[in-house]
Amino acid sequence: MLKKIDDCRWEVPMIGGMKVPGIIYTSERLLKDMGSDESQKQVANVAHLPGIVKYSLAMPDVHWGYGFPIGGVAAFDMDSGIISPGGVGYDINCGCRLMTTRLAYDEIRGSIRELVTALFQNIPSGVGSKGDLKLSVKEEKKVLEEGSAWAVRQGFGTPEDLETTEDGGRMEGADPERVSDRALERGREQLGTLGSGNHFLEIEVVEEIFDPIAAAAFGLEPGQVVVMIHSGSRGLGYQVCDDYLARMVKHSGELGFPLPDRQLACAFLQDRRGQDYYAAMAAAANYAWANRQMLMHWTRETFEKTLRKGPREIGMRLLYDVCHNIAKIETFPVEGKEMRLCVHRKGATRALPPGHVALPPTYLRIGQPVLIPGNMGTGSYVLVGTEKAYTDTFGSACHGAGRVMSRTQAMKASKGRSIHREMADLGVTVMASGRGTLSEEIPAAYKNLDEVVAVVHRAGLARKVARLRAVGCIKG
C-alpha cells in the first residue's frame, strides 16, 4: 500500500477514515527491515485522529510501537486537535545529553576500564534503581516545577548547563498537582538514576567530522572524548502516562469518533482532560531533565576523581540535551501561515534550523544540535537542524537506530555467545546490571544506524556533523 515519492519518502495513501496521508522517511534497504512490521498501519491509524495537520509522519528508525509507532511525528491543531499520552510514550522526556571534554582519547585510553567501573559504581542503574536521596513530596513537586534548574540549585551542575538544554531544562505549563500520588511515590526514590533497557551512559570518541564548521560551533574535534547519556523520567513518567491513558480510555466514548486502537486514547486540547495531561506530562518532562542533569554532575565528579584532574582540565561542557518523547506547543508553517500546533514526537528528536528563536545564543547561527544515540557499542551521531525539517517535519528528525529484532529474538541470537567479550573485541568496555540486558541489546537487534542517519541527511531533515565511536558503556 506504500507509494514511493522519492528516494527518501514513501506515502501511506489516504484511505477510509484517514484525515491526512502518511509519509514514511526511509530507504529501500530499511523498508526491507520493516517487513511484517505493523508500523505502516500505525502511521495510518494516527492519521485518523481529529485535528491532525498535513500528514502523519514516521522517521527512518520507525518500528512497531503501541498505538503511535515509535519514530512517529504528528502535529495537531490547537482548536480542533487532540493530545495523546500514547503519542508521547511511557518514558516522558526520554532523551539524550552529550558532554564534550578537553580530553583526547590517546591521553586516557588506559583509564577507560577504571572510568567505566567508577561510573558504574557512582551512577545508580538497573531495574527500579533507587538513588541516594529520597525526596519529600514537597521537594519532589519543586523538581516537577523547575526541572534542571532545581538540580543546579542543589549543586548538581552550573547555570551554564541550562543554556544548552532544550527549553532550558524546564517546560512551561507543568503542574505537579496534576501528577497522581502513585506517580509521586514512584518518583521519590528514582531521581538521579539511569534506569534499564536501552538507557545508557557511554564514553565515546569523536571518530569522524562531516561538517567542520558546525563541529567547531559545537566544540567537537577528532579524537576528543565525549560522554552521551540516554535516560528519561523513570517510574514517575511511566505512571503519569499509565494514569492518563486509563482515564482517556475510560472516557473515549465521549470523543465522538471511534478509536482505531485503544492505545491511541486521547483528549481534545481544549478539553480539561487534555489540559490536565499536558500539565502532568510537562511536570514529568521536568523530572527527566533534573534526572539527566544529576547524572551528568556525577559523571563530571567521577571523571575528576578517577583521572585525578581538576574540572578545568577535564572541561566537561554540556553540548546539548534534547528530548525525544514529548508533546509540545510549537509554531510551524502550514500552507504558508505560521500556526501554533501540538507536536507529538514519540521517538523523534526536535531539529530546529539556524536562527530559530528557541536556540541558545551559541547555536543561533548554526542550528540545533540533534543527538542520535546508537545502541550499545555502535556509537552515536551528532547532526544539526535545517530549514527543511522546519517546513516538512515540524522540526523533527530520527532518534536512534530502532529495533528490528524482538527481545526474544535477540536473546535467541545471543545464546551461547559472550556479548561482553564480543563488545570488548569491538573496543567497548561494557558493564550492565541486568542479567538479560546485554543479550537483548546486541547490535544486531537494531537497524543500521549509519543507514538511518544517511536517510535523514539525504532527506535534508538534519545534516551530519560528527560520528562518535563508543569506548565504554554502562547499562541498566
Binding site: 511511557y90 511515590e185 511511566y238 475510560k250 486502537d261 529495533r403 528490528v404 529484532m405 529474538q409 538479560g436
Partner: protein, 139 residues
C-alpha cells in the same frame, strides 16, 4: 485445553497470549505471566496478602486495568505476586485476593523492567474450550 501462556514476538515490546479453562484461570495465568517476566516466581514466598478491586468499561478494559494493578503492586508497593487464591467477578469488575512476597533485591533477581501493560491489541474472548486473551507490555 492447555492452560497457560506463551510469549508472542513483538519488535519493541513483549506480547503474551493466555489460555484458561475459566475466566478466573485466564486472569490468574495472565498475572503469573506478568510476574514470570519480572522475576523467577518459583523463588517467591506467599506470606503477604493483598486484595485488589478493579473495574473496567468492558471486558478488555477490565483485563488491562487488572494487569496494570498487578504491575503497580510491584512498581509502587514492592509486592511480588506468588499466587491467587480467588477472583470474584461481578459484571465489569472484580475482586482478587493475592498472596505474595515483599520485594527484596538481595533475594529476588529482576529479569526485565516492565514499564507498563498497554491497551494495544488487548483482547479477551470465550473459545469452545475456555477463555483466551492477549496483552502487550512495554519494556
Amino acid at each position: 485445553m492447555v492452560m497457560g501462556y506463551r510469549i508472542l514476538d513483538h519488535t519493541a515490546d513483549i506480547g503474551i497470549e493466555v489460555h484458561g479453562a475459566t475466566l478466573t484461570d485466564l486472569f490468574s495465568q495472565a498475572a503469573f505471566a506478568l510476574v514470570d517476566l519480572l522475576t523467577d516466581r518459583a523463588m517467591l514466598t506467599g506470606e503477604a496478602e493483598r486484595i485488589i478491586r478493579v473495574a473496567g468499561a468492558d471486558l478488555e478494559d477490565l483485563w488491562i486495568n487488572y494487569l496494570r494493578e498487578i504491575l503497580y503492586l510491584f512498581n509502587g508497593e514492592n509486592f511480588l505476586l506468588k499466587d491467587i487464591p480467588g477472583i470474584k467477578f461481578s459484571e465489569l469488575s472484580l475482586e482478587a485476593s493475592l498472596l505474595g512476597a515483599s520485594y527484596n533485591p538481595r533475594r529476588h533477581a529482576i529479569k526485565t523492567e516492565i514499564k507498563a501493560v498497554t491497551y494495544h491489541r488487548a483482547e479477551v474472548k470465550q473459545t469452545p474450550d475456555g477463555w483466551w486473551g492477549v496483552f502487550i507490555v512495554d519494556v
